[in-house]
């Protein structure tokens, strides 16, 4: 992911910010605020919470600026801080959870063969086309239906690009558990996209 690599601009800005140059810190904030806000908004699904988490994240970053070593990317570091803040907030407001059993996935015959496979191979469309508005909506709804622990892992890994190690650090879960949830979440989302593409080809 792009955030794994520290850009030269970030490195220079960081060095200046660490020396107390406020305008350099503000430039770093401006460069990363959309991603931090996006992460917080997706995780909490609340614009007000996302705005506050973004504020708290950059304030924490500023307060710990001197401790931050430039060997990691600034973007990756603030992403981890934001994930921490977002998860803390989510832990405080436990909402009704979708049960794991509701996670959709492919269906198999008793012999372990795919019962229903892609009638339309939409994988190539995924790279080229502007995203269809209805497909976007279907994906957002499917992501919303994921049980919380699965949704969090999927968002942090596949959308926000955190590493497994970072996710393990902020969630307290083991890497194998995270991978297993990520896989189940991807299967459920793949199913939702497949249903969208094949909505005219299959019976109800």
């Amino acid at each position: 992911m792009s955030d794994e690599v520290a850009t030269e601009d970030d490195r220079q800005l960081l060095a200046r910010a660490q020396d107390g140059d406020m305008s350099a810190f503000e430039a770093l904030v401006e460069a990363h605020q959309d991603k931090v806000y996006g992460l917080a908004l997706r995780m909490t699904r609340s614009e007000a919470d996302a705005a506050e988490i973004t504020q708290d994240t950059f304030l924490s970053a500023y307060q710990h600026l001197k401790d931050f070593r430039g060997d990691a990317a600034f973007g990756s570091w603030v992403h981890r801080i934001a994930a921490n803040h977002a998860l803390m907030r989510l832990r405080h407001r436990r909402v009704a959870q979708a049960a794991e059993a509701e996670l959709q996935g492919p269906e198999f015959t008793p012999r372990g063969t795919l019962a229903d496979y892609p009638v339309t191979d939409w994988s190539r469309d995924a790279e080229e086309k502007a995203l269809d508005a209805e497909l976007g909506q279907a994906i957002r709804q499917a992501a919303d239906r994921l049980p919380e622990g699965y949704r969090e892992v999927f968002l942090l890994k596949d959308v926000d690009g955190l590493s497994y190690e970072q996710i393990a650090e902020v969630t307290g879960d083991s890497i194998p558990a995270i991978k297993s949830r990520l896989h189940r979440a991807r299967l459920a989302l793949r199913e939702a996209i497949d249903t969208f593409y094949n909505r005219d080809n299959r019976g109800p």
Partner: protein
């Protein structure tokens, strides 16, 4: 010989190159003889990218201005 179910269970490890050579060989054998699974793999691989695009968000301008104000006030009062 792996079934479709075995293969699909292993797709994440496969794509991340974390399987033993033996497992990878069994999986490749299944995939090369099973076009539904081949297509399944292609769509599984395309899923994160599509989701990322669908879930992209930008910070509204007024939130961005508030953020700047907030940080300036906090940092000024601390120094």
């Amino acid at each position: 010989m792996y079934t479709c179910k075995d293969s699909i269970n292993l797709l994440l490890e496969y794509l991340e190159g974390e399987m033993s050579p033996d497992e990878a060989k069994h999986l490749q054998e299944h995939l090369s003889g099973c076009s539904p699974c081949e297509e399944f793999l292609a769509t599984y691989r395309a899923t994160p990218g599509l989701c990322k695009r669908a879930l992209a968000a930008r910070m509204p301008k007024e939130v961005s201005s508030k953020l700047t104000e907030f940080l300036r006030a906090k940092i000024k009062s601390a120094s």
